[in-house]
């Protein structure tokens, strides 16, 4: 009996496909990831929560791949956004529905513009209609200048002096609030894969952009004591899950996200760098 069991185990091992690690979450228009904002209105600002955006210095780092949009979709598709107390988008990063190699970024009511004044920013090597092409997007803001990088290259730097206030808005990956924190008003869904999202409470320097683009698994160029203190959120999507599951915040700050299928579907993929 024991010999039979060992034989079956060996057969099972021989027939098993080699495991491929999960690298990204796939959102199919309607699904989204909601990052809980632990800030309680009226309380002192908790700078380990998403309220850190209101300190006017931040960086958002996203690596994602798109997919062809349904013909019925004419609007922007959301990579990342967070609202404000007026039920408007305070910070948003979108892909263009018209041009598959462009993104649009808004802070407050101002679009970030390139050196020609255009608000659609061309990303070298980007093709949002190709699900196998992952693009690295970074938005930094130091309170005066909003700077956008794509695949390690500087895309735009705009003077936008604002006093940001995100209130208690949860952040969304793959969708946009119509009314802050009201899931019945969601729109501008993402079609494609999200490999990783990072939030920092300082503006990442331009000198690191090529390194970050070419080293998807590394958070810093070199170790330093406290070097990872500024990271507020880190979602890697490297573990299988389903709607309602928590995607833990790997930064240790406790800003866990929740996978929400909504009107679409959530899946996990081995695609991604």
């Amino acid at each position: 009996m024991i010999r039979l069991g060992v034989t079956l185990l060996l057969l099972a091992m021989a027939c098993q496909e080699p495991d491929q690690p999960i690298r990204s979450v796939e959102l199919s228009g309607g699904a989204y990831i909601r990052i809980n904002n632990r800030q309680v209105l009226g309380d002192p600002r908790d700078t380990t929560s998403l309220a850190f955006f209101s300190d006017d210095v931040f960086s958002i780092e996203i690596r994602a791949a798109g997919d062809s949009l349904p013909a019925s979709v004419a609007g922007l598709a959301t990579l990342f956004m967070i609202g404000d107390a007026q039920d408007e988008t305070e910070i948003g990063i979108f892909r263009s529905a018209l041009q598959p190699d462009r993104i649009l970024v808004i802070i407050g009511n101002d679009w970030v513009r390139d050196s020609d004044g255009s608000i659609s920013l061309e990303v070298p090597g980007c093709n949002w209609d190709n699900s196998k092409v992952f693009t690295h997007i970074v938005l930094t803001y130091d309170g005066v200048t909003a700077t956008v990088y794509g695949n390690g290259e500087l895309l735009a730097a705009s003077n936008i002096s604002l006093d940001l206030e995100v209130g208690d808005s949860d952040a969304l990956i793959g969708a946009n609030w119509g009314v802050t924190n009201d899931i019945s008003t969601l729109s501008n869904f993402w079609y494609g894969a999200i490999d990783e999202v990072r939030l920092w409470d300082f503006d990442l320097p331009q000198s690191e952009m090529q390194f970050r683009y070419q080293n998807p698994d590394k958070l810093t160029r070199q170790y330093s004591a406290g070097g990872l203190d500024p990271i507020i959120g880190l979602w890697r999507f490297n573990e299988d899950g389903s709607s309602g599951d928590v995607e833990p915040d790997r930064s240790g700050k406790g800003n866990d996200a929740v996978l929400e299928a909504g009107a679409g579907e959530i899946g996990f993929s081995t695609a991604g760098p």
Partner: protein
Amino acid sequence: MGRLPFYHRGRFLAALSLSLGLSLALPGCGGEEIDTVSPVVRFSFPSEFTILSGLETVRVIVNDNEGVKHVTYFADGDQLARFVAAPYTLIWNTTAYPDCTTAGSAVLLTAIAEDLAGNRGTASRRFYLDNEGLPPLRVQMLPPVAVTKHSATVAWERSVDYDFSHYIIYRDTSTAVTTLSDSLALLDDPDSTRYSDTGAGVTPFGLDEDTQYSYRVYLYDTFGRTAASDSITTIRTLLPGAVQLIEAAPASKYTANLSWPQSNEDVLRYRLHRGDTAEEADLDSIAGFGPATLSYTDANLTAKTDYFYHLFVIDSAGYTNRFSSTNVLQLSTDSLDVPQLVPTASAVSKYSATLQWLAVPVQEDSSWIDLYRDTDGTVDNTSTLVISQPVPGAPLVYTDATLRQSSAYQFRLLHRDSQNNLEWSNTVDLTTIGIADVWNGALGVSRPGKYDLGLGWDGYNYQPDDFASYAISRDGGLVFTTSDPSQVNFDDPGLQKATTYTYDLVITDTSGATVSTTLDATTRDIFPAAITLVEPTVLWFFRLAWKPSPESDFSHYMLLRSSIAEETFDDANNDAVADCVVSGDCDQVVVILNQDPAPGDTVIFYADNDPNLVTTTGNSLPVYQYTVLTYDLAGGFNASNIAGDTLYSEPQPVTLRIDSSSTNTISMSWSRASWPWPVLEPILFNRYEVWRNMVPDEIPGEPNTTYELVVPLTPIGNTTFTDASDNWEPGQGFAYTIVLVDLFGRIAISNEEIGATKPP
């Protein structure tokens, strides 16, 4: 302790292993036992007490458990023979014993067999012997011991006959040797089994040389019975030995030097032979020598020839050694030395070449060096003999000054001696230089003129002087010739301006050879004016300016204007300008006389306000082209550069910018339309058009595009617009373009910008 025998060592080790309680597997141990079993031998033939005589065959049978080493026979204690291999059969010569035929007198024959371990087995039988009355047994002749030219030593088996009496040796020149042949000696000692025949009485020297002799021994016993040896020894006496010739010194052209070692023979004389091959080296006797002569010089030979020598030795008996083609000396007489020309001539000119050669050694006889020359590639004694001079003493260099220029020659030396031996040298090829090699100068323009050209060239200075003439032709026609070698300039007048002429300079030498060179020279054109400004002014006239011509014989300017497509003066050679003047297809605007432009006149201005100039023709903008013709006093002219413009400029695109967005609006602005003449802008401007598209990178108004006109806007200062709709999706994007339309319906399309409503 002494060394143990092998079998003892085996036992010792076996015992040791047993005493230690070990189980050892030793090769040879255990199975090896001492062979103590003796071989068994017994007689099988003949039976005991058999009466034997002569040669008898005795057989034994031998058996042993391990193997028989040998079997030894004894007769009454005397060892007869030993055999180490079967069948151990003994052929017993019984004549060596006295007869024994009475009882108790039998000979005891014993056979002792010994095996490999040394064990012995013995068998014996007794036999009676009875040889009396029988002839003795024959003895065998052995190979001859020594043979010389005059003697021979022969040998035979010893007789063991108990009744031996003597041997008698017989000799014959045939192989049938009998007792009738020459009796040489009687030998009564059975151990005398050798005899040296010195040939006494045959010749004064002994046996005759190179002669066959046969010998036979007859054996006699004490009973007078005899037996002839059943074999005959035949020998051939020798001839004198040859000596080896040596080339004592290298042969020269005509002489060979020979030597040879002293012969060991009784030399009477030597005789030297010479032939053309090794096989024929014994044909011709060329000299004879006494026994004391050991060298010879063979003179009067032929150069460069192979000779084959053989030396015969003649001994006192008059015999000579036997000839062999392998005992021949081959040598070759030397050849005439090959002359050698230095591979290249040391100097080659138009009419001469200097040749050098290496010295040749002085010969045994007189010799000469001849220098030959030819032109057909092959130099032999039918070619031209240039010089002939004896060796030695003559110079080793010669300059042949009878050559023609630009010609190929071949030179070769011939070395010949008094016997007309000939040796040719290598061939030197050379080519004399020609006039083209000595003059590679150039013809050039020393003074370029408008209507003449000054020419100059490099002079012909070859020495020795063979100059004949210079000749210059222009476009194939002779225009100049001289026999003065120092005249190297020529001025060619009466030419056309800006015209290219082809000149050929031909230099001829006294031998009629020529060298030429060609030059394309161009007269200069009139220095043209240069238009620097054509400026449309308030839509109805042009302001023009040009830099004056620096031409010294300036006459006047003529300003030409063209608005005809075919006459736009765009021909690179300005032929169109000339055509225009001749055909009248262009407008002659003005003729400006200016005989002597002042140095300060750096720019000449002119305003063309012809009322016939038009701003537009239908939907096109006429282009007016201008050129300035500069005339000189000879009536020629040259056109300036061509410059032109339209009276009206196309509208320039405005620059669009997306300003801001809300959830249902997109606000934009653009730069104000402008023209060179601000006062006319309100007239020239018609409208802005805001175009919107869902598809980027299309052009408004083009077929099959989805651009749609949102709104036309006036006046010129209205440069903002907010596009709005309640039906747009959140974050909906559009491509926008502003189209500027002017008074004449001409359009300018702005940049395309992507706008998007703000997501809620």
